[in-house]
């Protein structure tokens, strides 16, 4: 098996894409860290950096990163039921419950962040 092993089956490609999402997420974290750093500097520098983040190519990159992040979360959530013990405290846990809880958790956290951002924007 050479280095192209991951192209041999669709399932391998899916896993590879999930792993590759780390690169995009890391890049976004770095961009965000720089944003925080720039926020501490003068308004000019901050605005210039914002313009850079809103550059059409960067927007394409953000959308791509979002797509990878969603792909990672969704495929990972769907895998978790089989990775967990069959029973908790002697009772079988339905797979749908495990998956559902994670999506619900994601929705709640996303909603809280959206509300917070809206609240900060309004004040």
């Amino acid at each position: 098996m050479g280095w192209t092993w991951w192209t041999q089956k669709p399932a391998y490609v899916h896993v590879f894409l999930r792993e590759a999402s780390a690169v995009f997420i890391l890049a976004e974290v770095v961009l965000f860290a720089v944003l925080i750093h720039k926020a501490g500097q003068d308004a000019e520098t901050y605005r210039a950096y914002l313009d850079f983040l809103w550059h059409p190519l960067m927007v394409v990159f953000h959308i791509l990163a979002l797509a990878f992040a969603v792909w990672h979360s969704v495929t990972w959530f769907l895998l978790t039921p089989s990775a967990l013990p069959r029973q908790i405290a002697g009772r079988r846990v339905p797979a749908a419950l495990v998956v559902g809880q994670q999506f619900a958790g994601l929705a709640v956290v996303s909603l809280l962040i959206a509300l917070w951002v809206a609240w900060v924007g309004a004040t």
């Binding site: 098996m1 399932a11 896993v15 089989s82 967990l84 013990p85 069959r86």
Partner: protein, 249 residues
Amino acid sequence: MSEKTIQLEVFRYRPDADGPGFQTYDVPFHDDWVVLDALNYVKDYVDGTLSYRWSCRMGVCGSCGMEVNGEPKLTCAAFLRDYLPGPVRVEPLTNFPVERDLVVNMDGFMSKLDSVSPYIVPKDEAGGGPSAEHLQTPAQLDRYKQFSMCINCMLCYAACPVVGRVDEFIGPAALALAQRYNLDSRDDGRERRYDVMFQDEGVWECTYVGECSEVCPKHVDPAGAIQQAKLSGALDYYKRMLTPWARRS
């Protein structure tokens, strides 16, 4: 009316003849024939030199695993009708050395299987002793039953890209079986399996591609067993660190 046929492209390798290659055979098509029936037809009526393994013909013995159109399959459960109009490419299982034609060498797999002590290790006297009766509730059975359905067909080893890249990886079936015995309330072999399961080439080598579970004809879900083993192995590690004085058998 001429009889309906389907073409087989069969991988051939005879150590005593020229190098490996493919040979095509036209075999009669029947709606209820599986790939193994087609191979048996070739062996009986066309070419007696073709070598392959099979026994039960009913998905129990696990010996007829081959690659059918690039997917690991039990050939006794792979219907020709699902591959119409053909050709059907039949190859030996990937990730194994080929001995002859469709027969692979299973020595590596056997020694990996052996290394995980895949049997119930009896409890010592403190736990009731080997001769005592160890009752098991349905709930206790349910914890490991799915992982005990393995027929050692090795399809999961052929499907796993990690097996293909890391020779020493203990692999899906053996690790799932190790976890199966670890989960068995009658077993006392956890410590014995610890070093093999939790070495680098044990569960930690698995990257959860999940193809082993996809191809498993018995729905054992070895990928799930391995992730569960990772979790219990990590907990064990901390337990060992926090209670170094505890008994280790």
